[in-house]
């Protein structure tokens, strides 16, 4: 059998043996990220599952430099590293923040915003798995409406919508912000490549599969991620200097239930009495999608965003 030559990863830049759960999005997204960024990269990791996965003493999962830092200020740490490297003439080295949704939407929000506003030359990766998974599934402001977490148990499921991080990040007028899905690997890899080629603050938000947190069978990680995109619950788009581009328009309508049903965290929503909630989620999803398309149209028709 001929080995196909188009495998996505030509040279592995992670070591096997990482401490991720089965079917974890973190490991997979970092595996692809590192394969594109190469070893000349400093990864700055605030508290998150990845701070465990990346390797306890004395191990390092990455073929690259890894700096573990405090939860609230990874972009600040990265700022220090970036400026020091620049000063040392190592402008070609990548400095990359690997943060979770808690570390980005919540505790690290200010630091992220600060770095984005300053236009720091950093790549910020958000693995958005919709809760504080490292501490065992607690609600973050990225947690989807209707999801059950240990701080929103059972009927006390989360009853607020996650914040529009991409909108906020985009409003910082940074050169590049994009969402990506591991089920759309070529698109994700293209976005990493694109981010790598740019300068300034660049942010990628990846829909992070988390089998224990989402209560999904590990083998379904990619399948459910794909459904998130197909149902438009996690649209794929880019924002360049506030100009929106939608990267994938699902061919056919797939109801949000399709994506939610395999996820145990939404199980209660399928009780007859919770039908309205599913409808609300559908409505909100559709509305956000329409808004996204409208943003794309608006920002492309108005030339003010072009350089």
């Amino acid at each position: 059998m001929q080995p196909a030559m188009d495998f996505l990863i030509k040279e592995e830049k992670v070591f096997s043996g990482g401490l991720s759960c089965r079917g974890c999005g973190w490991s997979l997204l970092v595996r692809h990220l590192s394969s594109i960024l190469g070893e000349n990269t400093v990864y700055v990791v605030p508290a998150s599952c990845f701070s465990i996965i990346a390797g306890p003493y004395p191990l390092n999962e990455l073929r690259g430099s890894v700096v573990h830092t405090i939860f609230a200020a990874a972009p600040a740490t990265a700022t220090g590293i970036r400026h020091a490297l620049d000063r040392q003439g190592k402008k070609d080295a990548n400095v990359v923040i690997l943060a979770g949704d808690g570390g980005t939407f919540d505790i690290g929000f200010q630091s992220m915003s600060g770095a984005a506003s300053r236009g720091e030359n950093l790549i910020y990766i958000v693995n958005n798995n919709g809760a504080y998974m490292n501490t065992g599934i607690q609600t973050s402001t990225a947690t989807p409406y209707g999801a059950v977490t240990t701080t929103n148990p059972q009927s006390n499921y989360k009853k607020t919508w996650p914040k529009d991080l991409m909108g906020i990040v985009g409003a910082h007028n940074i050169p590049y912000a994009a969402t990506a899905s591991l089920a759309f690997m070529q698109d994700y890899r293209r976005k990493i490549q694109r981010a790598k080629e740019m300068e300034g603050f660049r942010l990628l938000m990846i829909d992070g599969p988390c089998p224990p947190g989402h209560k999904v069978d590990p083998s379904q990680s990619i399948a459910v991620s794909r459904l998130a995109v197909e149902t438009k619950m996690f649209p794929l788009f880019e924002i360049e200097r506030q100009q929106y581009t939608v990267n994938y328009i699902p061919e056919k309508f797939v109801p949000v239930e399709e994506c939610m049903r395999p996820q145990g965290r939404f199980r209660h929503l399928f009780k007859p009495e919770n039908k309205q909630i599913l409808q609300d989620v559908q409505k909100h999803t559709d509305k956000y999608w329409e808004r996204l398309l409208a943003m794309e149209k608006l920002t492309h028709e108005l030339n003010i965003f072009e350089d």
């Binding site: 059998m1 001929q2 080995p3 096997s16 990482g18 595996r31 003493y57 590990p218 083998s219 990619i222």
Partner: protein
């Protein structure tokens, strides 16, 4: 004080189990309890420990349990991976969750008990196959070992599990009653539980006396760089993915037994000679079958779920045409048994060839002036040009099969010269309709034979109205032949187009050429003669399904009507010629026959089963195997086993883009009068390569790399042979590779992997 240490995987519920046990002990008596876990930072799957102390008085120890009285192993696979038996007290016991016999563990401890907790839990629906939650069952077993009250335990279990309280309590009770290895030891555990004697700490003297400089290795700085791969995560795995080649439906559905997937793949790689060899292994007639087979392979093609099945027939035809006049190698005769084959059709010729290849001296006797059977006599030239058939038969001859034509033989004719007879005379006698005046009706089979071999038109002239009764390929071929004689043929079929046994594309072609078909109508009687017939027809309707699975046609009362025709041709079925059995009444069936004959007689082909060229070829292959097995005293079974055939549900269609099928060009727009040129064109080489790229490779890895690309643990690599391989040192068994494998070339099973 009783000290228990548990070993499990994160996510199996052991920590909860130990907490529940603590609660149970507090209910069982005036016990002080202490239960706590010790785990790393990993989550599901990683080995963890839990501790339980129970005492009559205060517990004066808050450290881990190093020297337990009882070691409880929740996951059997941990035995090979973690030193679970370390520190067990001299008189201590071990409880294992396993279905294996006690013998396997005798050397581990003085007293070992087993309980099939995984089985019990799965039966009770607790957890999943990849991670059964065995805590309730293990609690039940532990309760038995300390000789405590199971009813109290059940109540506490039910009150403390997050879901399924009853199932959990039942699992506890079943486990309580399922322990193997019971003896004296449970009493000892009970003693430890209730003793208030102050125990000595088992301490190593050397440890107490050792004093030294702090042990600071070179890594005692907050930075480090050893590779993560020092940490082997393979021991987290419960379910194991494996590359497994499964049967593709095209291959499993080919009556001839052709490895369709393989020849399609080789064709796609441009290796046409290798590809045709794959076909020749089972089928000496690819050029014929590429034209006339209904392509069971294409019908079963999983791609039909996405767009259209791969045009396998066109590939087969291409290969057959390219190689049909090549020179095959001849096998030397190895065996003394001479085989006689009666019938030179696809079954007889195939059987003869296969036996000849094995080293038997084989002679085929054909009644007609030319070999080929129905391929020769029943299939018109515009579907199968003579040269195609001639050349493929010539290849068989060149491989050493002797073919004697114009020789209508009986079994008894072979008895002296041959060690065995294979009867494959086909079905060349047309069935009767059992209507009045039937002798005025032309038999379709005869018509095709006589026209093709002798040019006998049965008086059909330009403009004649021809009524053809039937719905099979014969009816279609008759109609299309009549059309080419300038007649106006109409087919009358008693069911609907859905039930028509004729090959669908042949029907389409016939209609396109101008053949009319009327459905749900059947003849009741025929009057007239020569070229002036009146056929009384009755309308039909479909009733309940008959034994063939098709809905039975029922006459509609009072719906009779008449049609006029210059000729009436019946093509309603065929049967075999009994001449071969010396006129004896025989019910032919595949394989060795129960006949009162001097030599063993084997039956194959249309007369045994099937009705298509390819089925006849398959039948010939089978009978050759049986004959060989008979003479060589090898085992042979008629049973067929097709496990693990890849079905549409196994395919991950996400990874296949809808791509239009490249169809053969069919020439409709020409004047058909007296034109017996081939109607269907073959595909060109570049089209063949393109069309084979539509193959989804069901059940066989085609190195798409999905498993590699999606493995979160970088546990898949390409070995020196260029094959994808799983590194089981690191594979945690998430199953993403299996799920994302487009073509179901992987399996995911509950088993340990044998290292290569």
């Amino acid at each position: 004080m009783l000290e228990i240490r548990g070993h499990a995987r994160g996510g199996q519920g052991m920590v909860t189990a130990f907490e529940i046990l603590a609660k149970i002990f507090s209910k069982l008596g005036d016990y002080h309890v202490q239960s706590f876990p010790a785990f790393g930072v990993e989550r599901t799957g990683a080995p963890i420990q839990a501790f339980l102390r129970v005492a009559k008085g205060e517990i004066y120890n808050r450290s881990n349990v190093y020297n337990p009285h009882l070691i409880v192993v929740f996951d059997e696979s941990l035995l090979e991976q973690v030193p679970v038996f370390d520190g067990l007290r001299e008189s201590g016991s071990v409880l294992l969750n396993t279905e294996r016999s006690l013998e396997n563990f005798k050397d581990k401890a003085e007293s070992v008990f087993t309980v099939p907790a995984t089985k019990i839990s799965l039966e009770k629906g607790l957890g999943s196959k990849s991670l059964p939650i065995v805590n309730a069952a293990m609690i039940g077993a532990i309760i038995k070992l300390i000789d405590a009250d199971i009813d109290i335990a059940k109540a506490v279990v039910a009150a403390n599990v997050p879901v399924k309280p009853e199932a959990n309590a039942e699992a506890s009770e079943i486990a309580y009653n399922s322990i193997i290895g019971l003896g004296e030891s449970e009493l000892k555990l009970h003693e430890f539980l209730n003793t208030t004697k102050i125990e000595e700490n088992p301490v190593d003297e050397d440890f107490l006396k050792s004093v030294g400089e702090p042990e600071i290795d070179k890594f005692s700085e907050p930075y480090w760089s050893q590779p993560m791969s020092l940490n082997k995560t393979g021991n987290w795995r419960v379910l194991t993915p494996e590359y497994t080649t499964k049967l593709a439906p095209c291959s499993s559905n080919c009556p001839a037994g052709t490895d369709v997937r393989e020849f399609i793949k080789l064709s796609g790689e441009g290796k046409f000679e290798d590809a045709v060899e794959i076909i020749y292994k089972h089928n000496p007639f690819p050029a014929v079958c590429g034209r006339v087979c209904p392509h069971f392979c294409e019908q079963a093609c999983n791609r039909n779920e996405l767009d259209d099945g791969v045009n396998i027939g066109a590939v087969e035809r291409f290969l057959g045409d390219r190689f049909r006049n090549t020179l095959p190698e001849k096998t030397p005769i190895r065996y003394e048994e001479k085989i006689g084959v009666i019938g030179g059709g696809p079954a007889g010729l195939t059987a003869a060839l296969q036996l000849r290849r094995r080293g038997y001296d084989v002679t085929v006797f054909e009644a007609a002036p030319q070999a080929g059977g129905m391929m020769r006599t029943g299939i018109p030239k515009f579907r199968l040009p003579d040269v195609v058939l001639d050349e493929e038969i010539e290849r068989i001859r060149r491989e050493g099969v002797k073919i004697v034509t114009d020789k209508k033989m009986k079994i008894s004719d072979l008895e002296d010269e041959f060690a065995a007879a294979i009867v494959a005379v086909g079905s060349h006698i047309g069935s009767k309709m059992h209507v009045e005046n039937e002798d005025q009706i032309i038999d379709g089979i005869d018509f095709l034979y006589d026209f093709k071999l002798k040019g006998d038109k049965y008086g059909i002239e330009k403009g004649d109205e021809i009524a053809i009764i039937g719905g099979g390929n014969t009816a279609i071929d008759v109609a299309r032949t009549a059309l080419r004689l300038g007649a106006v043929p109409t087919i009358y079929y008693r069911r609907t187009s859905n039930e028509m046994p004729a090959i669908a594309h042949e029907v389409d072609e016939a209609i396109a050429e101008g053949v009319k078909i009327e459905f749900l109508t059947a003849p009741v009687g025929v009057t007239g003669s020569d070229k002036n017939f009146t056929v009384t027809m009755t309308k039909m309707e479909l009733g309940e399904p008959d034994e063939s699975g098709r809905r039975r046609p029922m006459p509609v009362q009072g719906s009779e009507y008449e049609i006029k025709a210059n000729k009436v041709i019946a093509a309603i079925g065929q049967r075999f010629d009994e001449f071969v059995f010396d006129g004896n009444k025989v019910e032919p069936a595949q394989g060795k026959m129960n006949l009162d004959s001097k030599i063993p007689v084997f039956c194959a082909g249309d007369m045994a089963w099937g009705g298509t060229v390819t089925e006849a070829i398959g039948s010939g292959n089978k009978v050759s195997d049986e004959v060989h097995a008979y003479f060589r005293s090898l085992p042979y079974s008629h049973e067929e086993n097709h496990p693990n055939v890849v079905m549409p549900v196994d395919i991950n269609f996400t990874y296949y883009m809808p791509t239009p099928r490249i169809n053969n060009i069919v020439k409709y727009d020409i004047d058909l009068y007296d034109n017996f040129d081939e109607v269907v064109e073959g595909l060109k080489e570049e089209e063949i390569v393109k069309e084979t790229s539509r193959c989804m490779h069901c059940g066989e890895c085609f190195s798409c790399g999905n498993c590699y690309n999606y493995c979160p643990d970088a546990a898949i690599h390409i070995d020196d042979g260029g094959r994808l391989r799983i590194d089981y040192d690191y594979c945690k068994g998430c199953g993403i590779c299996v799920q994302e494998c487009p073509c179901s070339a992987m399996t995911f099973n509950l088993k340990e992997v044998v290292y290569e």
